[in-house]
């Protein structure tokens, strides 16, 4: 009996030791500093600040977590960083002014929104070739690939639409009109629903992927905050399907929504002008980027409490985490 108990313990500690050699890490892009902040998720300390291209905004990891893609908007390129060495190893031909992007489950096709040119550029991350450029509405921004890889959905901020692009043909096949200034889209893990935020409209639309129609529209209300300041941007859905977190911009709060009943459960006070969010790899915490206060807030997902805030660079924009 003693042995049986001991073996798992040993295994766990062996894993823990392996873990400490590379602690879980968050990377945060600082739009007005042209840097990335590297945040150690064990100590909650910024351990490094790395120079990157101009006006870094959207960032994303390769599926194996070895590479980081960075939209360097004013450098008109997507940079590829090798996370083992933290060096830029390539610049992808992204089209002009890349803002956000999403990687296909095949780990190759990267869908990039070119904000100034009303285009979506598709780049092969291995051959570095541009596979297609697709016309979309004015100021494309939010981008998400469906979990099954069939759809890529792009939001256009001034056209106020979700554009549905077939990833096989690279053709735009449908549009869903939403409220003013859609910023971000997020698929539910089963791929059946899509959540879309409208920053100036102040709403979040939940869209049925099959019909591409809005089935629910959420709005938000915080006592003492003018409704015009409640501007949904980033959305994150918890893996267990329980919560949706919605970052409310200059309202300085993150809304916690019951992802099944669509009821708003709580509003959590974070830093100023909260835009994007990411879970830590263990899903225990949610990190938020707060542009004006220049920091990252940490939300404890189980308790739904904000536990700390960490100073990063000027105007933090995107955030990703690796184990």
């Amino acid at each position: 009996m003693k042995y049986v108990k001991l073996i798992p313990t040993l295994l766990v500690s062996a894993l823990a030791v392996a873990g400490t050699t590379q602690a879980a890490t968050a990377y945060i892009s600082n739009e007005k500093d042209d840097t990335l902040s590297v945040l150690d998720l064990d100590t909650w300390k910024v351990t490094e600040t790395i120079d990157v291209g101009e006006r870094p905004r959207g960032i994303a990891l390769s599926k194996d977590g070895s590479k980081l893609y960075i939209c360097a908007s004013d450098s008109d390129t997507v940079q590829v960083m090798d996370l083992a060495t933290r060096k830029i190893i390539a610049n992808l031909p992204s089209g002009a002014d890349p803002e956000q992007f999403s990687l296909h489950p095949d780990n190759r096709k990267l869908y990039i929104s070119n904000e100034d040119d009303a285009l979506v550029t598709v780049v092969d991350t291995e051959s570095h070739e541009v596979l297609a450029q697709i016309e979309v509405g004015v100021e494309p921004e939010g981008m998400a690939v469906s979990p099954d890889g069939r759809w890529v959905v792009n939001t256009s901020e001034t056209t106020n639409m979700l554009h549905w692009i077939d990833t096989q043909t690279h053709e735009l096949v449908d549009n869903t009109l939403v409220d003013q200034r859609p910023r971000h889209v997020e698929f539910r893990e089963d791929g059946k629903l899509l959540w879309a935020s409208a920053e100036i409209g102040g709403t979040v639309s939940v869209v049925d992927v099959e019909t591409r129609k809005i089935i629910k529209k959420l709005s938000f209300e915080i006592k003492g905050i003018h409704p015009d300041k409640i501007q949904p941007v980033g959305i994150k859905l918890s893996a267990d399907g329980r919560y949706a977190f919605v970052a409310l911009g200059p309202a300085n709060h993150v809304a916690v929504v019951d992802a099944k009943t669509y009821e708003v459960l709580d509003y959590l006070l974070v830093g100023r002008r909260v835009w994007h969010m990411e879970f830590t790899p263990d899903r225990q915490y949610l990190l938020t980027t707060n542009g004006i206060s220049g920091d990252v807030s940490v939300i404890d997902v189980a308790d739904l409490k904000v536990t700390r805030s960490i100073k990063v660079g000027r105007y933090p924009w995107g955030v990703v985490t690796t184990p």
Binding site: D34, D51, V52, G53, E54, A72, D74, S75, D76, T77, Q79, I88, N91, P93, S94, G95, A96, D97, N114, E115, D116, D117, A118, L119, T121, V130, A132, Q133, I134, E135, V136, G137, V138, E139, S156, E157, T158, T159, N160, M161, H163, H170, E171, L172, D174, N175, L177, D179, Q180, R181, E199, I200, G201, G202, H226, D228, K229, Q231, P250
Partner: protein, 395 residues
């Protein structure tokens, strides 16, 4: 550090772009005509004439809005077209606008003087939708209420109130008011006096500039004594043409800031506004025109966008249906100002935040915090319902 590369351009050169197909199965294809009526106004010679005002201010904004609206429209089979009429002769504008109406045009963006606006309003039939994008005139929003007229350009009262709130917030309450000698200058000065009364500013001295010397040579000699003799916190200047006001900063008798039509300026739009996607609007505009987008461009851009937004949401080009939607609770315009904009039901004025800028930076944006209003703080700027005789929507 990586500098701007040519990668973006290369991509476009090499690959055919997959065009967006037209959609809207079951929906009707629509052709939407918007008429832009621009009056070319000779503002006379000014002392500060080194940087001329662009002659196509307004028109370029309307053109960009048509491009923007067509990018959206192609997904809905909606096609927008701009009919452009420009002239320095009001009677030509009236005749030509009427001719456009007779050809079927119903949506008009009018960048003209207040007088021409009144003439157009009476010559065009009731079912035409008119948006003023050229006159700041307070009377149009308070006393002389033109039937059905909407305004995307702020009134002088809105600009003055935006400035006044900020001055009061800074506790710079004592103002020396200097006015030029045109009717427009006097109107701006009048709005400043109204704002002082509303928010608690004190006009400690009021002067009219009537010197005819060339200030480029003598500003240093003439302006300090002209702005001396009283204690004040700021000099407020009312010189809409930019005749002498440009020479006031740093030439005041006391070491005080200059605000108003020069120095720190209230404005609906400026290059220094960059947040909420404004940088992208500037970028599109500069690509189209090779110059910065100004307040008149913005007002005409917004005018066309108001029509287009109503067409997108209603799927109709019927003037009455569009008008009902534009004046309803459902209407909202995203216009790069960080809040949704809509119209005041009494004066037909587009509610909007007003930026306070100096030539190289955004200083603040009004309404300032703490200026409260029972409906929306945006209505602390300009003529509120009880202060206006206008009723665009019959109540």
């Amino acid at each position: 550090m990586l500098k701007k590369t040519m990668l973006g351009l290369l991509v476009t050169a090499l690959l055919p772009i997959i065009p967006a197909p037209a959609f809207a199965q079951g929906e009707q294809a629509l052709d939407i005509r918007v008429a832009y009526i621009g009056q070319i106004i000779d503002r006379g010679p000014v002392l500060s004439n080194l940087i001329p005002e662009p002659e196509d201010a307004g028109l370029q904004g309307a053109r960009l809005a048509i491009t923007d609206s067509n990018s959206t429209g192609r997904f809905l089979k909606h096609h927008y077209r701009l009919d452009e009429i420009e002239s320095d002769d009001p009677s030509t504008l009236i005749t030509d606008s009427r001719a456009l109406y007779d050809e079927g045009a119903r949506l008009f963006v009018l960048n003209t003087s207040a007088d021409t606006l009144a003439a157009l309003s009476s010559s065009l039939p009731e079912d035409a939708l008119l948006i003023n994008s050229g006159s700041y005139d307070d009377d149009l929003r308070s006393e002389q209420c033109l039937s059905g007229m909407l305004h995307t350009l702020p009134s002088r009262a809105m600009l003055a109130d935006a400035l006044a709130q900020w001055l009061i917030m800074r506790r710079w309450n004592r103002w020396m008011l200097i006015s030029g000698n045109t009717d427009d200058d006097r109107a701006f000065a009048q709005s400043i006096k109204r704002a002082a009364k509303r928010f608690g500013g004190k006009i400690v001295a009021e002067k009219a500039w009537s010197f005819d010397t060339d200030l480029r040579r003598t500003a240093q000699k003439e302006l300090p004594p002209f702005t001396s003799g009283t204690e004040y916190d700021v000099v407020v200047v009312a010189d809409e043409r930019g005749d002498f006001g440009e020479y006031l900063p740093y030439n005041t008798g006391l070491p005080r800031p200059v605000v108003g039509t020069q120095g720190l300026m209230p404005t609906a739009w400026h290059k220094m506004i960059e947040a909420w996607g404004a940088a992208q609007l500037h970028s599109r505009f500069e690509k189209q025109t090779g110059r910065w987008m100004n307040e008149k461009d913005y007002a005409s851009w917004a005018g066309v966008r108001v029509f287009a937004e109503a067409v997108t949401r209603t799927g109709s080009t019927d003037a009455a249906a569009l008008r009902d939607f534009i004046l309803s609770d459902q209407f909202e315009l995203a216009a790069f100002k960080g809040r949704k904009l809509n119209f005041r039901s009494w004066s037909g004025q587009l509610r909007q935040p007003i930026a306070l800028v100096h030539p190289r930076a955004l200083v603040s944006s009004s309404p300032q915090e703490g200026f409260l209003h029972p409906v929306t703080d945006l209505d602390t700027l300009g003529f509120d319902a009880p202060e206006s005789r206008c009723r665009v929507i019959a109540q």
